[in-house]
């Protein structure tokens, strides 16, 4: 019985394996994934006979997948490490990073060193930074996430995020938590901020695409596409589309900051 089923499965596999080879596979960072899906959808409308599969898995999985060529393009929301530098990579957009608090929180602005002291655990009460008396509920992203490494690099420097911080694995959940907890603080992608949370100014400067492009707002990171060797064929065509005026416009509509490599500038 089961042998029969296995045989059928095997034959189905071999019958199918030829067909699915035609799709371009894009895999990696879950931060980049939603944007890549928007791009792919539009691209497939314009080029109706080409197929693009977008997969999650995280930046490192994406980079590994690109190295082993189980994916044609890897997505990364962090800069490549030294041992990964042999891959071909391109920045498709930049993403701003903002500190968010609950709208009920009277605070509007934090200085960089205040943020650092909050996240190292030195400041534990909102009254210490000008808010009302209440414990600060710290929310961070998980170790290894592009967002966290960008935050660590840009804000923390040599200091460490306290292990007591709550850790969430997506921008959306950080936002949901902050939206529900008057004492919480977290950091997310600029593109995702909505009116359920309040974005804090950093050293008095508001987080806007403009301020990020002119470098007055300091917290931003690259979104990368990586491939093994120069991209060719469909892969190249899709990357070109991403960097085209149209692709970059799609991305800015979603709240990203156009890439310096792209034609949107």
């Amino acid at each position: 019985m089961s042998i029969m089923i296995l045989t059928i499965l095997m034959s189905m596999m071999s019958a199918c394996s030829q067909e699915s080879g035609s799709a371009t596979i894009v895999a990696g960072s879950t931060s980049v994934q939603p944007y890549a899906e928007v791009l792919a959808e539009e691209y497939m409308i314009l080029n109706s006979n080409s197929e693009i599969d977008i997969q999650g898995g995280g930046s490192s999985a994406g980079i590994t997948a690109a190295q082993t060529q189980s994916a044609d393009i890897g997505m990364s929301s962090r800069a490549l490490k030294d041992e990964e530098k042999s891959l071909w990579s391109i920045e498709i957009a930049r993403d701003g990073l903002v500190l968010i608090v609950n709208p009920k929180n009277p605070l509007e602005n934090l200085a960089l060193d205040q943020i650092r002291n909050i996240y190292t655990g030195i400041i534990t009460d909102w009254s210490q930074v000008g808010g009302s008396t209440a414990n600060i509920h710290l929310i961070a992203r998980e170790e290894g996430s592009g967002t966290r490494s960008a935050f660590t690099e840009l804000v923390m420097g040599e200091a460490e995020i306290t292990p007591k911080a709550i850790v969430q694995d997506s921008n959306g959940s950080v936002m949901q938590l902050v939206a529900g907890d008057p004492n919480a603080i977290g950091f997310i992608s600029l593109g995702l901020v909505n009116d359920e949370v309040k974005a804090l100014h950093l050293d008095g400067i508001e987080a806007t695409a403009e301020n990020i492009m002119n470098d007055s707002y300091k917290l931003s990171r690259p979104f990368l596409f990586v491939t093994k060797g120069e991209p060719t064929g469909l892969t190249k065509s899709f990357i070109d589309f991403t960097l085209s005026l149209e692709g970059q416009e799609l991305l800015s509509k979603e709240g990203l900051i156009p890439s310096r490599e792209g034609k949107g500038n």
Binding site: I166, Q168, G180, D181, N183
Partner: protein, 281 residues
Amino acid sequence: MKKFKENFSERVFLLLALSALSVLALITVFIFTKGIPLIAKVGVVNFIFGMKWSPSQGSYGIFPMIVGTISVTLGAAIIGIPIAICCSIFLAEFAPATLRNIFRPAIQLLAGIPSVVYGFWGVLFIVPMIRNYLGGPGLSILAGSIILAIMILPTIISITEVTILALPRHYKDGALALGLTHWQTIRHLLLPAAKSGIVAAIILGLGRAVGETMAVIMVVGNAVALPETILDPVRTMTTNIGIEMGYASGEHQQALFATGIVLFIIIMIMNATAQYITRKK
């Protein structure tokens, strides 16, 4: 010919039965080869009893997560097991037929609800409730225990109920005939007779609790510090893997597999103990 057929079918069944063993072996080999190098490098004691988890700086200590796993699972067991056993007794012994016919499929339905839905429901209701009435950030051991308790209910209830129902009817009739009350019959006759089934149900249920990842990620807060109260956030071993695997590479990835090894060994010890208990009976 018939003899041959009988022998043949026995061989086939043995082969099928060995599937569980071979898959287990495959998984073991795979996880160990991936994780052992890191444990060797860090040292077993430093890995298991280390208080600091900071892969970007090369610190790999998972003691807070072991504490986290134990506390959340224990909480789920304390909340979930009594309720589950009461429910299965209710279903098998007390429920009127109509109620049973609604309740039983409903329990199966409960088992089919994706863990992420439980987690989501926990974030929407349990977490704010804890935050507003008990204090703290809400994401906590308590929240994780409650969600896990609800999640292991169906597993324990359905298996326990099946076990109780499978007991020969004359057990019960005999006891009732001796003038025992219904509850005494259950307490002194049916439950002891169903013990091995109930233990099995609890093991499967706790296995699910220890192994649950997604729902737990959403409600325990995942902080890598030792908790002081049940209102503090914790990270369990599964959530450590679940939350960081996506982005991990190199040594960090190995460390997560090593976490998997520890988890694996803990579960093996749990299983061996449970099997020992059931066999002794």
